[in-house]
């Protein structure tokens, strides 16, 4: 009876063993998948390719936003612009993100160039009609029609803190053989401002494209003053030149050629303070429709 039963159904105590181990398979799979993922994601990830705009770093995303705003300035296609902004996956409202990006750029050196300033204005023209605001609104004027393209920032007037060096005084020699008085020449400090800036006149002509023309006159406002040093400074450089080196243009004449897109600060070192606003070498259209760079005529006159 017992033999018959065992032939019909195997006893629970005599179940045949599986050819594999469930525990071994589970542990092996876990180790294999885990190790391979670590290898594939960390040790040897696939080379970066097909990068999309949302994967860009923050500063490059700002540049992309600038490009979107500039493109919008040309085609006025709001839908495309918003789709592109959405593709950047900026946090929050994509149009407000443009305002935030403009704010970041307006508070950095990005707006020091006329190109950067123009780009931020394009961004403002994009988000303001959509009812968004940002800090750029208070920093930069949207009106660039006749302006000099320069951000006006109130900077406190620097005060002189250095104490003047002690002047040399003659020391009395105890046993001077002669009683000849020693003549001490005390240098007098020349007046700091003996020239006034009379005016700056911008113009746009092909002949003087990008030229700063400086005219320095004596107090009578008609006689040119030769040999006066003019200094021009820009982002990463400085140039000094003198009036009167082109006699055919007048004895008080000097000029300097600007590089388009840069801002220049002009003064007469030791004689006239720098201009209150930099001279911006912005592109312009001449009356005949030619492209040129704006030029300036700066006039100084001696204080009478």
């Amino acid at each position: 009876m017992t033999e018959r039963m065992s032939a019909e159904a195997p006893s629970r105590y005599h179940r045949p063993r599986r050819p594999f181990s469930i525990a071994g398979i589970l542990i092996g799979l876990a180790l294999g998948i885990g190790g391979a993922l670590f290898f594939a994601w960390t040790v040897a990830p696939i080379e970066e390719s097909d990068t999309e705009p949302w994967q860009l770093n923050a500063s490059t995303k700002d540049q992309y936003v600038v490009a979107i705003a500039l493109n919008y300035a040309n085609d006025n296609d709001l839908g495309t612009a918003i789709n592109r902004l959405v593709s950047l996956q900026l946090p929050g409202d994509p149009i407000q993100a443009v305002a935030d990006a403009a704010c970041r750029l307006a508070t950095t050196g990005y707006v020091n160039s006329s190109s950067g300033l123009s780009a931020v204005r394009s961004m403002m023209r994009f988000y303001q009609p959509q009812g968004r605001t940002g800090c750029a609104d208070s920093l930069i004027s949207l009106d660039d029609g006749q302006g000099s393209g320069v951000v006006m920032i109130d900077v406190p007037t620097p005060t002189q803190t250095l104490t003047p060096p002690p002047s040399k005084t003659p020391t009395q020699v105890a046993a001077a053989p002669t009683a000849t008085p020693i003549l001490v020449v005390v240098p007098t400090i020349p007046p700091q401002n003996d020239f006034d800036m009379v005016g700056v006149t911008p113009s746009c002509t092909a002949e003087t494209s990008g030229l700063i023309v400086v005219q320095v006159y004596e107090a009578d406002a008609s006689t040119g003053s030769p040999g006066q040093e003019i200094r021009v400074r820009w982002d990463d450089g400085e140039s000094r030149f003198f009036t009167g080196l082109k006699p055919e243009m007048g004895s008080g004449y000097a000029d300097f050629e600007m590089e388009s897109g840069k801002d220049y600060i002009l003064d007469m070192p030791g004689h006239a303070d720098p201009l209150s606003q930099p001279l911006s070498a912005s592109p312009c259209n001449t009356p005949t429709g030619e492209r040129a760079v704006i030029s300036y005529r700066v006039v100084f006159r001696a204080i009478g």
Binding site: F20, I25, G28, P45, L70, S122
Partner: protein, 123 residues
Amino acid sequence: MVRFLVSLTIALVVGLGIGLYLGWVQFPAKYTDSTADRLAQRFKDEYTVMIANGYLADGDLNGALERMRTLNVENVPAYIQDTTERYITNSSSVNDIRALVAFSSGLGRLTPIMEPYRIVSLP
């Protein structure tokens, strides 16, 4: 014990294969914080066209050149010329081509194939 080890080894190999497929093909690592030169070509083209449109709007060639440097292109004028000619050859959007031609022309790279797309202002 032998049965366990054999099972473990086979599963390990299979697991490695599955893991590599998942890590390299199905769910590859996604990079963030990338620079613009890593952009896919279609997005580089999109950026270039946007800059060209900006140039059409404001005529600021230096600004456009400066913005193109974001792509870390070695020779911007040559790159613009190549992109413009590729757009023309691929019959892309006429507006995009016109903007690119204007930009390329501004950079002194107006080639004969671009001539028909050149924007000419009438007197």
